[in-house]
Symmetry: C2
Subunit: 310 residues, 2 copies
């Protein structure tokens, strides 16, 4: 039995297709977020709270859509994408902690350490990171991929979330606080690691599920798509922090300026940032040309992400 | 080329054999702790600081010695054990943080967040956890195990360190603070998870490297050995917190009493705790009888751990 509805490349169905993938992701995460009746259940409650706090589910959508484009098993891609979403959620919980960004709100809701004690929030993050690797190492979670592919998924995810990936980006971000003169190459390095690495891993895990070999032109194209998408996505975050609507965004605007952060907007201005964003989006969309009609959904997803208001 | 010296079961060689395994572990960890020349190097410095801060290396020694007993590849066991030691070190860094135990000293040295900013220490813990899974998912790190076995190692490690393992134990520990009336069954559950799960995983990873199947009598025996060893080890911690020498121990004594913690000593008294410890040690040693002479090193290791003064 398949949990994943098929991914249509008819753009008239785009909204429905996206909604269906997000629904499948949320259903799968609901199962992952089960809370046992045990003395240590508090940490599971906190894991559940953050995992089910909403969000665009961009990363698992990318995994599923990439696998659909490449003829892979979308149920297995859903599993892989949800494991990655656990890691993404862990990073948000730790990022929000008092010693990090000290944020009270995330997606319009109180952050994990505002609802639970700080130490439980810290451990909930740790728990979600471990949970991702528990899922990916359990072959009973998958329908058709090989053990070799499961290992490849773990390699992609751990590298993207580790010190050479997302964590490295967070370190550069922390070091850049209240230093308005951050050069563009360091800003790019930060974003490529902090958000880009996991977005790239999400798409590449979809390719890995589909058996696309790491040295192939198809694999490179998916990587190039995701890297450019990640940068366009980040610029939209920077733009929304200036022009966004707090109620729609679910968090205060103007925080980058308040914290003296260098962003694409402070470096290039709004117009310059939008121009750069369009270049990245075009590069992302163009990278998928080799897949023809099958890339329609992913291309449209990239175009829509630039237009988002939250 | 083998990095691991052979593991002798001649007890006259015990001290030398143990020293050689520990040396091999430290050499391997030295390589894992390399610091790249990069803008985000601070987090690697913090990972290195904690990973190389010393310690008994009990867990990787168990992995290597179990593999040696079972005829497995001790180089691959060394790799697996060092990945587990990364996870152990991550747990120490996070356990020491201000929102957790707020400890200033670990193994006689300032804790990670005392040497580095708190947020870098948090991320160094996260980095070490990810690093473990990067190592275990990279087949080029291993000489002879299969992809199926590598997945099995990842499954054992992530389950032992996750919310149903070590993290769950930490949660029970946090909830029990300043509650002197913790019942014995909850104390046991806490220790089985907080320290026991990772000690068990260390030994079982040695069995997995050796190709011992999960349903076999040998596998059960190794698990029973490690679970009993873990409890005996924990009781020694509790006893040393009362009777230990601060200089030898590298941390203040009497902290359990100060924090109003329930321990085996508060529940059973020193004599009762030592009696219980001897029972667990005997059970651990007895579990290995089925392996005959080949178990001599591991049995002696269990006996020595009860006699340790740090």
């Amino acid at each position: 039995m398949s949990n994943m509805p098929s991914v249509s490349n008819n753009l008239n169905d785009f909204d429905n297709t996206l909604k269906n993938i997000v629904r499948a992701v949320n259903e799968k995460l609901e199962g992952i977020a089960a809370v046992p009746d045990a003395p240590e259940s508090a940490v599971y409650e906190a894991m559940r709270y953050s995992l089910l706090a909403g969000g665009k589910r961009l990363r698992p959508v990318l995994t599923v859509a990439a696998a659909a484009m490449l003829g892979g098993d979308t149920d297995d891609a859903l599993t892989a994408g949800c494991a990655l979403e656990c890691v993404h959620t862990y990073s948000l919980i730790h990022d929000d902690l008092p010693c990090m960004d000290n944020d009270d709100l995330r997606r319009g809701k109180p952050t994990c350490h505002k609802v639970f004690p700080e130490n439980i929030a810290l451990l909930a993050g740790d728990g979600l990171l471990n949970r991702a690797f528990e899922i990916l190492s359990d072959m009973s979670e998958f329908k058709s991929i090989s053990e070799k592919t499961a290992l490849r998924l773990i390699g992609l995810l751990s590298a993207a979330s580790g010190a050479n990936g997302m964590i490295g980006g967070q370190v550069i971000d922390l070091m850049s606080e209240n230093k308005p003169g951050v050069p563009e190459d360091l800003l790019l390095r930060m974003h490529k690691k902090k958000t880009g690495a996991m977005i790239e891993a999400a798409a590449l895990m979809g390719a890995a599920v589909s058996g696309v070999s790491a040295g192939s032109a198809e694999y490179s194209a998916v990587g190039r798509f995701a890297r450019n998408l990640g940068l366009a996505f980040q610029i939209q975050d920077d733009i929304l922090d200036v022009t966004g609507n707090e109620a729609v965004l679910g968090k205060p605007i103007g925080s980058d300026e308040q914290e003296g952060k260098t962003t694409f907007v402070t470096l290039l201005g709004i117009d310059g940032a939008e121009k750069r964003q369009n270049e990245y989006t075009r590069a992302a969309v163009g990278a998928l040309d080799i897949f023809g009609e099958k890339a329609a959904f992913l291309k449209e997803l990239a175009r829509r992400l630039v237009l988002r208001d939250n």
